[in-house]
C-alpha cells in the first residue's frame, strides 16, 4: 500500500526540528519501522519531520569512559565501529541480529530505541549495559535510564515534542564477557525471545531479557545469584521464573543459560 498524504519538512538544525515536533508530527530517522507503518496506513501523521539532515546527531565517541551514541547513528556504523567492538562488544553482537544489511544501512540506533518494538535487540542490549537516554525539546533536556525510558510495546517516556538525541553507555565491568542470543524462526526475522548477558562469574552480572514482558526486562535475582557463584542453569531458571506461559518460560531459560555460558565460558 501507499502512505496517506502528509506534509514533509527537512529541518537543517536541531532547534528547527524541535520547533516542528508535537502531537500530529512524527520524526523520521532511518524509516525502517516508520515507513512500513505509513505504507500500511497504521500511522497517519500530519507532518513528517525528517531528521536525516541533522548530522550533529550522528556519531560514536568515547568521552570520560562513556560511549556516546548520537541518536541518528546508523546501525551499520555501530556494527562496523572498532571503538564499540573493543569496549562495548555486546552492542556489536546485538546489532548483527537487527534485520539485514539493507535495513542496517538506513536504520538508526536512536530509531530502534524510540520505536521500542518489544522484539528489538538494541533496547535489550542497552538495558543490560545500564545505558541512559537523553531527550530534548524546546522545554529543555532530560536523561533517563532504561527502566524509566521503556514503558511498553512501542511506548517510551518520550513526550510528543521530545526527540531522542543521545544515548550514553557506561563502560562495562572490565573483566566481564558478553553475549547476545535470540530465537527467531528464521535469521533476521523478528525474534520470539532473546537475552543479553554481561558476566564475570562470581564478580559481576547484568542480564536483560527480550520477550519476557512488554519492554526490556532486567533479571536482578539471576544477576545476584551469578555474583554469588550460581551455575548458569540455576541463574537462568531465576531469570525466567516471572514468565507465566510455559513454552516462553522454557525458551527464555534456555536462551539465558546459553548467553551466560557464551559470555563467561
Amino acid at each position: 500500500m501507499k502512505p496517506a498524504p502528509f506534509d514533509y519538512a527537512a529541518p537543517r538544525s536541531l532547534d528547527e526540528a524541535l520547533g516542528l515536533l508535537g502531537e500530529d508530527a512524527k520524526a523520521l530517522a532511518g524509516g525502517q519501522s516508520l515507513v512500513p507503518l505509513l505504507n500500511f496506513r497504521l500511522a497517519r501523521p500530519e507532518l513528517l519531520v525528517d531528521i536525516n539532515g541533522l548530522s550533529e546527531l550522528a556519531g560514536l565517541e568515547r568521552n570520560d569512559g562513556l560511549l556516546r551514541i548520537g541518536a541518528l547513528t546508523r546501525q551499520s556504523a555501530l556494527e562496523r565501529s572498532e571503538l564499540v567492538a573493543a569496549g562495548w562488544p555486546l552492542l556489536t553482537q546485538a546489532v548483527r541480529f537487527v534485520g539485514h544489511p539493507q535495513i542496517r544501512s538506513r536504520g538508526t540506533v536512536g530509531g530502534s530505541v524510540a520505536h521500542a518494538d518489544p522484539a528489538a535487540e538494541l533496547p535489550v542490549a542497552l538495558a543490560a549495559l545500564d545505558a541512559r537516554f537523553t531527550a530534548q525539546s524546546p522545554r529543555g533536556r532530560r536523561t533517563v535510564g532504561a527502566g524509566e525510558f521503556f514503558i511498553g510495546p512501542l511506548t517510551t517516556a518520550l513526550e510528543p515534542d521530545e526527540l531522542l538525541v543521545e544515548i550514553e553507555v557506561p563502560a562495562p565491568y572490565d573483566r566481564a564477557g558478553s553475549a547476545f542470543v535470540e530465537h527467531a524462526r528464521t535469521h533476521g526475522d523478528f525474534a520470539i525471545a532473546g537475552a543479553a548477558a554481561v558476566v564475570a562469574r562470581g564478580e559481576h552480572a547484568a542480564i536483560a531479557l527480550m520477550g519476557a514482558g512488554p519492554a526490556p526486562l532486567r533479571a536482578p535475582a539471576a544477576e545476584r545469584a551469578l555474583v554469588e557463584g550460581a551455575e548458569p542453569e540455576e541463574a537462568a531458571a531465576l531469570a525466567a521464573s516471572a514468565v507465566e506461559e510455559g513454552h516462553r518460560r522454557a525458551l527464555i531459560a534456555e536462551l539465558v543459560r546459553s548467553a551466560i555460558e557464551e559470555a563467561a565460558p
Binding site: 514533509y8 527537512a10 539493507q102 535469521h187
Partner: protein, 154 residues
C-alpha cells in the same frame, strides 16, 4: 516537491508528493522498471537499490529523501555487457521467474566486491535479506561464490 536525483550517473529531476516512495519514483517517474516492488514493507528485498553505494530498500524511503543523492539500480549494474554476478546467476540457474533477481543482485554486488573467498555461511547470510519464492537458494549460493572468486581474481 521538486527533487533532483542522480540515477545510474544521470541526473533526473521530477515533481513528487512527499508521500511518493522512492521505489515508485524509480519506476514511474524515472521509468526504470527493472526495480521490482514486492511487499512494500521491507521484508522481501525485491526493491533493493544502492543509495550512495549502500544497498537500501527503496520502498522504505521517500523519493524526497533521495534529493541530491546518487542511486544505482539494476540497469546500472553492468558497466559493459554483463556483470560477473549476472553471468554467474545465469550459468548456475540462480533464477526462475526473475522477479526477485534485481533486488538480490543489488544487495550482493557490494558483498562480492568485499569478499573474494566467502564461506557458504557468509553467502547465506548475505542472501538472507531477500526472498525468492521459486528456485530456492542453492543455485544462488553457487553463483555468489563464483562471482566473488571471479572478481577476486580480477
Amino acid at each position: 516537491m521538486r527533487i533532483a536525483v542522480r540515477v545510474n550517473g544521470e541526473l533526473h529531476e521530477g515533481e513528487v508528493e512527499p508521500r511518493t516512495l522512492l521505489s515508485d519514483f524509480i519506476r514511474h517517474d524515472v521509468g526504470l522498471t527493472g526495480t521490482k516492488v514486492g511487499c512494500e514493507h521491507g521484508v522481501c528485498g525485491a526493491c533493493t537499490v544502492q543509495l550512495d553505494g549502500e544497498p537500501v530498500r527503496s520502498c522504505l524511503m521517500l523519493a524526497v529523501q533521495a534529493n541530491g543523492r546518487s542511486l544505482r539500480t539494476i540497469e546500472g549494474l553492468a558497466i559493459d555487457g554483463e556483470h560477473p554476478l549476472q553471468r554467474a546467476f545465469h550459468e548456475r540457474h540462480a533464477l526462475q521467474c526473475g522477479f526477485c533477481t534485481a533486488g538480490f543482485l543489488m544487495s550482493l554486488e557490494p558483498f562480492v566486491r568485499e569478499h573474494a573467498e566467502p564461506s557458504e555461511a557468509e553467502i547465506r547470510e548475505a542472501l538472507a535479506g531477500n526472498l525468492c519464492r521459486c528456485t530456492g537458494y542453492r543455485g544462488m549460493v553457487e553463483a555468489v561464490g563464483q562471482a566473488a572468486r571471479e572478481l577476486g581474481d580480477g
